[in-house]
């Protein structure tokens, strides 16, 4: 686990070096476009973490196995972390390129709503521990996923300041290979780092559950 974490950090550092030193500079936006190499990987990790959370929540509701609940909680924490990073890096990219830190654009607003939903999820987990709280959180976690397609399609359905998809589109990525390769490398690096954090978090929850069980049975 520790090795995976060290490997993830090393990959992120290598990815950062590639993005900052070797990737070509975009002709119109210039240097701020390099924020893409952390903004897009953050979104990808957040979406995948939400997918894992949704799947684990559904399996927990079906099988009532606490292991799925622990996975859902760990994935939701990571999702909140990376949605926060998405919003922060987006604001830092928006200021030099659009001239504003924030605008109530459809994609930005739906992403902020997603952040609130899963901060609410974590608050629910903290305030309502136990089986009942876990079931309520699982339902909230699954319902909250309805916001993800809204975020994705908001730039297609509505007129937004945020550009349309340049990577995840049916026709294939619109980026040149010299920018796509470091973007993919950074995404993989972020995924490895997130996987290491997820494994650590699950292991903690498992150890905590085992200790609580022993203490409760000991009276």
């Amino acid at each position: 686990m520790r090795l995976l974490l060290i490997f993830g950090v090393a990959l992120v550092l290598l990815g950062a070096a590639w993005a900052l030193l070797l990737a070509p500079e975009e002709a119109i936006q210039g240097v701020p476009q390099r924020i893409m190499y952390v903004h897009v990987p953050s979104v990808v990790v957040a979406y995948l973490a939400l997918g894992v959370m949704g799947l684990a929540s559904a399996l927990f509701l079906r099988r009532r196995d606490a292991a799925w609940d622990r996975l859902a909680l760990a994935a939701a924490e990571l999702a909140v972390l990376f949605i926060t990073l998405t919003l922060l890096t987006g604001a830092l990219w928006g200021q030099p390129v659009w001239g504003v830190w924030w605008t109530w654009d459809a994609r930005l607003t739906t992403t902020l709503v997603l952040w609130f939903i899963y901060v609410g999820y974590l608050a629910l987990r903290a305030w309502a521990p136990g089986e009942r709280g876990a079931r309520a959180a699982a339902v909230l976690g699954i319902v909250g996923l309805l916001d993800v397609p809204l975020i994705h399609w908001s730039v297609v359905w509505l007129r937004t300041l945020h550009p349309q998809a340049t990577v995840f589109r049916p026709e294939g990525p619109a980026l040149p290979a010299s920018m796509l390769a470091p973007l993919v490398a950074n995404t993989v690096a972020f995924l490895v780092l997130a996987a290491a954090l997820l494994c650590l978090r699950i292991r903690q929850e498992r150890a905590l559950a085992a200790a609580v069980e022993v203490l409760e049975s000991a009276g």
């Binding site: 992120v12 200021q95 030099p96 200790a211």
Partner: protein
């Protein structure tokens, strides 16, 4: 350039803070795990006077 630096700093701070939270939580869990070990549990029951050998008459 400052915006790019700030974006990378945000990543380092956010992931770093989460990792430190995990580390702090690990310490608390370790204490709980130690407390839940059989010897510690026996010690706890002994402290409650359930099976303290010193209380057995010679």
């Amino acid at each position: 350039m400052i915006f790019v630096a700030a974006a990378y700093l945000a990543v380092v701070v956010a992931v770093g803070c989460y990792a430190l939270t995990l580390r702090a939580r690990q310490g608390l869990i370790r204490e709980l795990v130690d407390a839940s070990r059989p010897s510690a549990a026996d010690g706890a029951s002994m402290r409650r006077g359930a099976a303290d050998p010193r209380k057995v008459a010679p």
